[in-house]
Symmetry: C2
Subunit: 215 residues, 2 copies
């Protein structure tokens, strides 16, 4: 059964957040991978903690906080110029090479943690086109809170069971399944599915497999 | 100003969760530290994700899920006997050597993510004694949700500004400060304070310093 709409996660799913590794590596040779992994991990942690504390701040701010925190944790000096350079990298992340939207059925939307100041320039420069680019920012809470996924239902005018949700982040895929979407987890890294009660409806190795399973 | 009550976090603050390293090391020589760090990290991640998904399960269950997940991630085979042995370890965690409650002012309570099936046997075998042992389990949501900290106010009959909260987990210390407690962060590892908007009122190197600052 083809969905009436496909909703995509942005960071890590359409856009490769680890493309910042190269830039980190330029700043601190030999430490790029460690910093970029720590940065991503802190960034997610801060979205969950601030949501639970009901102390929302935009993703751009959390991303900057996570960068500064990670540099301090790893003992890497971070100049204002380097900080701007690395934050700027988030506005021009690479699209994963296996991402193609042509031939996929239904409406297409992005549903992202990204605040509009980060997300809109990124989507614009990517050349990809969507029926809607939705940010958690209007709700002031991050994924995987159910109200985030409900935003797509409301804004697309499509019921949850007719929406296919696509994410490379297992916890996001599970959050969307928990809400009621039909979920495709793009497990590029071949990691084990998280033990969080529900499981994605389908596990794909690449984004390219999506067209096959929706044919 | 002396607080009317002191509320302590349990895991990582009074009790050393990394004392399971030894047992992990026995099971998988050379991998004990990596497994125990991954286990703790997944355990916390699952508390935050399940709270946000509104899909609460008791801490004992999440701890078991996190153990199985971590073993699978690291490619370590986990037999049912090993799983029981490691879960059993959580019921007899070591008390940090710097922990002493004698001479501290006011009522003493524990406020923990631990479900009663884990927390009660642990406290009992420790020999420590408290006016209250409070678990998030009755609220079905984990720290740092504000309602968790509110439970201590309600059950101790002491207002938030008269409660001193003690935790080694920076995110927990910040969650308690965000709620309105006077917070003492025991930073045994000398790690940087997390960038989450508010900061602990005091940063101590050891639990033992608590008596000095409250004198």
């Amino acid at each position: 059964m083809k969905p009436d709409a496909l909703v995509f996660d942005a960071y890590g799913t359409l856009f490769d957040v680890h493309s910042v590794v190269r830039r980190c590596e330029e700043c601190w040779p030999g430490k790029g991978a460690a910093l970029s992994a720590a940065w991503r991990s802190k960034q997610l942690e801060y979205t969950w903690l601030r949501s639970l504390m009901r102390a929302y701040r935009p993703f751009s701010e959390l991303t900057r906080d996570a960068l500064e925190q990670s540099c301090e944790m790893l003992g890497l000096p971070l100049s204002p110029a380097q900080e701007e350079q690395l934050m700027g990298e988030y506005l021009r992340l690479a699209i994963f090479p296996d991402v193609a939207l042509q031939g996929l059925p239904g409406k297409k939307a992005i549903l992202s943690n990204g605040s509009p100041d980060m997300l809109d320039p990124l989507v614009k420069q990517s050349g990809l086109s969507f029926d809607a680019v939705l940010s958690v920012d209007e709700l002031k809470v991050y994924k995987p809170a159910p109200e985030v996924y409900a935003l797509a239902v409301k804004r697309l005018g499509v019921t949850a069971d007719r929406i296919g949700f696509v994410s490379s982040n297992c916890w996001d895929a599970i959050g969307a399944r928990n809400f009621g979407f039909r979920v495709f987890w793009i497990n590029r890294g071949g990691v084990p599915v998280d033990r969080l009660g529900v499981r994605p409806d389908a596990v794909l190795k690449t984004f390219g497999e999506l067209r096959e399973v929706l044919r």
